[in-house]
């Protein structure tokens, strides 16, 4: 499975772990399709950041594509 990377520097830190976010490959899923993507994640608790531009951009595009499949 190919990995798409959506990592970018971010000012957000994990509030509960007090850690900077680091790139990590995670699986996201929709309509039965699983994608391995590289996102900014808290290295301790695994909190995954989905920034606004990703949610309303590429992610929405893929969601709609999968819904029409």
């Amino acid at each position: 499975m190919s990995t798409f990377s959506f990592i970018s520097e971010t000012a957000w830190r994990c509030a509960s772990c007090n850690k900077e976010l680091h790139p990590r490959k995670v699986n996201v899923e929709y309509m039965g399709s699983v994608f391995n993507v590289e996102l900014m994640v808290c290295p301790v608790c695994g909190f995954v950041l989905i920034p606004e531009n990703l949610a309303l951009g590429k992610m929405l595009e893929v969601e709609q594509l999968l819904e029409d499949k």
């Binding site: 509030a15 509960s16 899923e29 695994g46 950041l49 893929v62 709609q64």
Partner: protein
């Protein structure tokens, strides 16, 4: 959709029917395209149109007797197009652009007796098809009667070009033949088929009756022999020669192929057309006459005359509908796309968005000269999509959740009038009026209870139309059953609906219920004494659901008159009224298009707007239009706020209003304890108006935001931006993950942003 149904639907839409001119042309020249090219100074394009269909365009273009001119739609309002003058301009100024190819020789030899235009056309058409064509004429030149035209009309040189054309396609020409009785016998022996051009000297000596060929095939009594052309009782028509030559060539081609001479020839020659073209409003411009009639049109004159062509088409539905305009198509093509979309097994269903964007309002059906039922097609298709699990989940989910809320503990209510145990009537304001103007619902209800006998019950809820529109048949029927049972529990009173959608749904799907529109009831009642009319004239915006309810529309107008509001009618009211974008849940499945539809409806009049559907009112208000609900004037708010300035409450506001209304009425009218709010309801939010508008478009409710913050504050799972102290948290209550950027403030949590996605992140419930 079955293919048979598709064909039937496709045939209902007439946009692709021939324009009157082409239908009246015996060889169906695309006159409309010809005019468009000339008007755009595309000389080559214009000539190409002629070359494509007209044989010997240099000759025919000079002398065409333009049977299309009589049929021109412009003749209904003034002068028809000067088609012949334009053809002449074209062929005299622009040489041939398109030379039809000659197909490979395929055997079969055809004799063409005579050399008039019918013979020339038959010989040319057969030669193009790869047949051996032999022209046999007693004359020394070609042309027959065409040679009688004056030199300036049809120069001999141009006729000579016709001979060149025939030679170039391999036609064999024999001049000076002596026609006699043996001649035909010999010709029939030497050839497989024969065409006799009646525009031929000495044809009578052949002793064969050519006077009454079969009108469809032009066959005469002798096997393999066909006849046409020449003069008729109406005289000599150039286009009749061309038509007969072409018709005979086609018959001979079929004869040589040994297939039916008659099958499917209805569209040949002059034929009827069903194309409708609206000419009202088209200025009746006079025909452009050439300054020098002998020389014909100059380029400038030709452009001016061709520009008078109204480019006949129907497009009546598309002209009015925001949905059809958005997808830039007419029903015939859309229904084909819908059919193809349904047929896809693996691959992308590209028409889903379109199917879910129709307002299902039926305006196009009323406008259509043949009542194309696009709304039924789209709605049925949605039901099929739901049944086959191909409906995109995101299209209607938000609207269906809104419906669920209206039917749920915090918003729904069904009671007899306080202090009574039976109801003669049951007021059903509908979910959207309760969401838009709860105080008006209360005032209206109190008015009904004060002025009507026998008890007026109240039912807050939803008629289920969102489920119907979204194709959720099962959910819709379940909702309707529950509602019918609830009405039954109250003793089957007469239901009084404020919302016309509820009214039509009950009438169509619950015939066991008795229903009346609030407007018809109020029309017969004493109106509130404090009803206040604004001084300025207003434009009535009928909702799309009263399209077929003239009595409700009449009652509304009576009430408006009684309370002294002056109105200005506009054409897109009544039967032709637009949908505001809520219909068919368009505004949910296609947010930007929903806004366009609301704007289109709002723009129908310059006057302030007067609606009597809560969604029409709110959607138009959201576009910035000054628009009020009729109930706002019948039952003025205690605050004296101008109803024209009442803002769109948005989705969160409607939830809140419905819940507050139930709470308020339960406590004040029935002295009952309202249902307890869940814990997260206690969370106070501070949201700027612009952000609120954005959240509405993103289909994010304040309640969703409360859930995110509640969960983040409780668990501590959130991100922080150390620079500004903002938190960012996410939560997935069911099928959508909401993200909220916020910070604690003195008045409550200040919300800076919110967005959502449907993809499932690691650790989230599926």
């Amino acid at each position: 959709m079955e293919q048979q149904q598709l064909r039937k639907l496709e045939a209902t839409c007439i946009q692709e029917e021939s324009p009157q001119c082409s239908a009246a042309c015996p060889i169906h020249i695309d006159v409309r395209a010809f005019m468009a090219c000339l008007a755009g100074k595309d000389w080559r394009g214009a000539r190409r149109v002629l070359d494509r269909t007209m044989p010997f365009a240099d000759i025919v273009g000079r002398i065409c007797d333009e049977p299309c001119r009589q049929a021109c739609k412009r003749s209904e309002i003034g002068d028809p197009l000067a088609v012949h003058r334009l053809e002449r301009f074209c062929v005299t100024t622009q040489p041939m652009v398109l030379r039809s190819p000659r197909l490979p020789a395929k055997g079969g030899s055809v004799a063409v007796i005579g050399s008039g235009l019918a013979a020339m056309t038959a010989a040319l058409d057969l030669a193009r098809k790869g047949r051996t064509a032999v022209m046999l004429t007693s004359d020394e030149q070609i042309g027959g009667s065409l040679r009688q035209y004056a030199e300036e009309m049809l120069p001999a040189q141009v006729l000579a070009v016709g001979v060149e054309t025939l030679y170039s396609y391999g036609v064999i020409l024999h001049f000076g033949c002596s026609l006699n009785q043996e001649f035909l016998a010999t010709v029939r022996q030497d050839h497989d088929a024969v065409f006799l051009d009646r525009d031929c000297r000495g044809l009578a000596t052949l002793a064969v009756d050519c006077t009454q060929p079969d009108p469809v095939t032009l066959a005469i009594g002798l096997d393999g022999c066909f006849a046409g052309g020449g003069s008729t009782a109406n005289g000599f028509s150039v286009m009749k020669q061309v038509e007969d030559g072409r018709r005979a060539a086609l018959s001979i081609e079929r004869y040589l192929q040994k297939v039916s001479l008659t099958a499917q020839r209805e569209r040949e020659g002059v034929c009827p057309t069903r194309l409708f073209t609206q000419i009202a409003g088209i200025p009746p411009l006079s025909e452009v006459l050439p300054a020098d009639p002998a020389a014909g049109y100059t380029a400038r004159e030709a452009v001016a005359e061709a520009a008078r062509c109204i480019q006949c088409e129907c497009m009546e539905c598309v002209k009015q509908c925001a949905f059809l305009q958005e997808f830039n198509d007419y029903p015939k093509r859309l229904v084909r796309k819908i059919y193809n979309n349904e047929a896809i097994v693996q691959g992308t269903r590209t028409a889903n968005k379109m199917i879910n964007s129709c307002m299902l309002c039926g305006q196009c059906t009323v406008i259509c000269p043949h009542d194309f039922p696009l709304n039924t097609v789209c709605r049925t298709t949605r039901a099929n999509m739901v049944a086959s699990a191909t409906m995109p989940p995101s299209a209607h989910e938000f609207a269906l959740q809104d419906m669920e809320f209206s039917l749920g503990t915090f918003a729904a209510l069904a009671r007899h009038q306080p202090g009574r145990d039976s109801s003669r009537l049951l007021f059903f304001p509908g979910c959207q009026l309760a969401g838009s103007a709860p105080q008006t619902v209360e005032q209206t209800y109190l008015h009904l209870t004060r002025h009507l006998d026998g008890g007026v019950g109240l039912m807050l809820g939803c008629c289920g139309i969102p489920a119907h529109w979204s194709g959720r048949q099962e959910l819709f029927h379940r909702t309707m059953q529950t509602l019918v049972a609830e009405v039954g529990r109250l003793g089957d009173p007469l239901i009084v609906t404020a919302c016309s959608s509820c009214y039509t749904v009950f009438k169509e799907f619950a015939p066991q219920l008795t229903v009346q529109s609030l407007w018809q009831l109020l029309d017969k009642m004493e109106l509130p004494a404090n009803a206040a009319a604004p001084p300025q004239p207003m434009a009535i915006h009928d909702p799309c659901t009263v399209r077929h309810e003239p009595q409700i529309r009449a009652s509304v107008r009576n009430i408006i008159k009684k309370i002294g509001i002056s109105t200005e009618e506009h054409p897109y009211a009544g039967e032709l009224t637009d949908c505001c974008g809520y219909g068919g849940l368009m505004q949910f499945a296609n947010v930007p298009l929903g806004e366009k539809a609301a704007r289109a409806k709002a723009r129908r009049s310059e006057c302030d707007g007067l609606a009597y559907c809560a969604m029409c009112r709110d959607n138009m208000a959201a576009t910035g239009r000054r628009v009020a609900h009729l109930l706002d004037y019948l039952f003025p708010a205690a605050s004296r706020q101008d109803p024209l300035l009442r803002p769109n409450p948005g989705f969160s506001g409607r939830h809140e209003n419905r819940a507050r209304l139930k709470q308020h009425l339960l406590t004040t009218l029935w002295q009952e304890e309202p249902p307890m709010n869940p814990a997260h309801k206690e969370i106070k939010l501070v949201i700027a108006p612009q952000l609120m508008e954005l959240l509405d478009k993103r289909h994010i409710l304040e309640d969703d935001i409360r859930k995110v913050i509640g969960q983040a504050e409780q668990s501590g799972r959130r991100l922080v931006d150390p620079e500004n102290g903002h938190f960012l948290a996410s939560y997935r209550p069911v099928r959508v993950t909401y993200w909220v950027e916020y910070q604690p403030g003195r008045q409550g949590f200040i919300v800076h942003n919110a967005y959502s996605h449907r993809m499932i992140l690691p650790g989230e419930a599926k």
